[in-house]
Symmetry: C2
Subunit: 116 residues, 2 copies
């Protein structure tokens, strides 16, 4: 949710879960940044949380992908009271539109450049 | 892959597949844009292709999510000769690192603001 990481989350041993959240925010999104940072702190406390990737095209689409070890972890995060309050505020104030896809990762791999 | 769409792909009826590709490119990525546009055209010809979301934080992480009706569709795209050539060129020339997660979407929903 914050934009500080430029290293993608690594492939984990499948199966694991990915929550793919694609969104477009309103031009006025006051309070969004603080809430996003708070959510990023909170999710780290969920047992089974594996990491998060985030990218946003300026003025356009944002994609956040949260990775979780199992369905229990993703359900715990979905049901977290402070997260639910943030979701409600998002619908009321920040988002023009969004889609959430909850998916079970069946295979994955990574690449990292070496030597130049 | 190109950055033209600012409307997230809608939730489809599960199950369907998502290919989540997170990447960081080198500062010099000559030829990347043309190839990305070509891939975006090609993938539209894959039976069962449902759409693509893309976002990139300037100078940072890029996330592309391709959605496919079933595993056959995603396998056909993975094995497409011109796509495979582009993947090889990506590893040779463009990417610092990437992760690919292939996932089966089990549930999804969307939100769209109305009335203001």
């Amino acid at each position: 949710m914050s934009d500080h990481s430029d290293v993608p989350v690594a492939a984990h041993e499948p199966p694991y879960y990915a929550a793919v959240f694609t969104s477009v925010r309103k031009e006025e999104d006051g309070g969004y940044g603080e809430t996003a940072e708070r959510m990023e702190e909170l999710v780290k406390g969920i047992p089974g949380y594996l990491g998060m990737d985030h990218a946003r095209t300026p003025g356009g689409l944002a994609i956040t992908v949260g990775y979780f070890r199992d369905e229990d972890a993703i359900k715990e995060w979905s049901a977290h009271a402070e997260h639910r309050a943030a979701q409600r505020r998002g619908r009321a104030e920040w988002y023009e539109r969004y889609t959430l896809h909850i998916a079970r990762v069946e295979r994955s791999h990574g690449f990292e450049r070496v030597g130049d």
